[in-house]
Amino acid sequence: MQFTLTKRKKISILIGLLLFHLIIISIQVPLGREVGFVFKKSIFVILSTIQDTGHKLYFSIKNFWKGYIFLRNTFQEKEKLKRENLSLKAQNWLLKRELEKIKKEKSLAQSHLLIAEVIGIDSMSIYRSLVINKGYNHGIKKNLPVLDENYNLIGKIVEPISNNQSTVQLITDIESGVGAITSETKAIGILTGNLTGKCYFKYIYQTQKIKIGEEVVTSGMDKIFPRGIKIGKITKIKQDKGLFKEIEVLPYFRLNELESLLVLIK
């Protein structure tokens, strides 16, 4: 009898927990993901702080080992110069862009690049999102473009964002969408990911001329990413009976080489 009661109690708890999840999920489906956000953000704020601390700890141990045991001051100097170099390169890139833009329009004139470090990856798929060590306190807000050290597009800032950490949705995520244009044939479409490290360039008519190896850049039409940021190269074009071509794009950014990245603050 006791066993039966315990068993019933366990099943009731299971049903209760499953209902709790189903209610959270079902609220988010018609009303948007923001509804489940209070829970998500609370967990994000606590755990991303732990993640950031872990990241700092790991690097301080690594740097201590490299800096003191092996090379003493040389390593710190190199790191400092590396950061300065990146910052100067970023400024240079922006100045060049501004110069180009001033001739046409002034969209990037008031932008600057913020250097951030990757502290974590997505818990489900590496091609979905990243966590970086910059947040509201550093001027981060939703939808800011994120670039790699060579100014290739990586993605954009999405919620959850905390004071010192934020999430970057990668262009390789299946739910991402970037307004894009080919550099030579000027075909305009939308770039979306497929969670395998590659992207698809969508809504290009069968009649539109386009070639393999052509560069794809942002079109600026989505009002999120400024025009002209490099994304990747076309690697495959499939023509079938449908209205649109199936075009595969290999992004320029390399996930395994990412350490620092740049957030374009408007």
């Binding site: 708890i13 499953l18 999920i25 818990s123 999102s129 739910e175 996930l255 990412l258």
Partner: protein, 156 residues
């Protein structure tokens, strides 16, 4: 109380391993589902109740660090925790020959529940392929059964 602290610490460690950027440099680690291993371990040790609550907590943590609807992993991992607890109370789980298929089937089942739920709510998920259906549960089961065996040995 001690159990809660143990579960909490285990989940933080699992989280740090699961979302560590270092995993990208060690691609084989990407195939190991650390959260599921924690859920199965506590379900086997403490029964269905431990399994379910660990599953809920692990799933919600995972949901907070991925770009999907909050609660999907919580749901599938709660079921995983419950069934691992039920099976753990029925059979002797200290043998490798039992641990491996238990973890393999458990993670496979969880993956299918997860995909089914994503499909139902219209969330775009990674397509089911051999890597997700076979390699991930297989590798996690190998690593998990070895780790569990070592832990059980120490606990004796």
């Amino acid at each position: 109380m001690r159990n809660i602290i143990k579960i909490g610490l285990a989940l933080i460690i699992a989280f740090l391993i699961q979302t560590s950027f270092l995993k990208i440099r060690l691609p084989l680690l990407l195939l190991i589902d650390v959260f599921s291993l924690i859920v199965i371990y506590f379900a086997l040790k403490g029964g269905e109740i431990h399994g379910m609550f660990t599953g809920t907590a692990a799933g919600l943590i995972q949901d907070s660090f991925t770009f999907t609807i909050f609660g999907i992993n919580g749901f599938s991992k709660t079921i995983l925790g419950f069934f691992a607890g039920v099976i753990g109370s029925m059979i002797e789980i200290r043998q490798m020959i039992v641990l491996f298929p238990l973890i393999f089937i458990g993670i496979l089942f969880e993956t299918i529940v997860n995909f089914f739920l994503c499909y139902l709510v219209g969330v775009k998920a990674q397509q089911l392929n051999a890597q997700i259906l076979i390699f991930q549960p297989f590798l996690t089961a190998i690593v998990g059964s070895i780790i569990f065996k070592i832990i059980f040995k120490f606990e004796k």
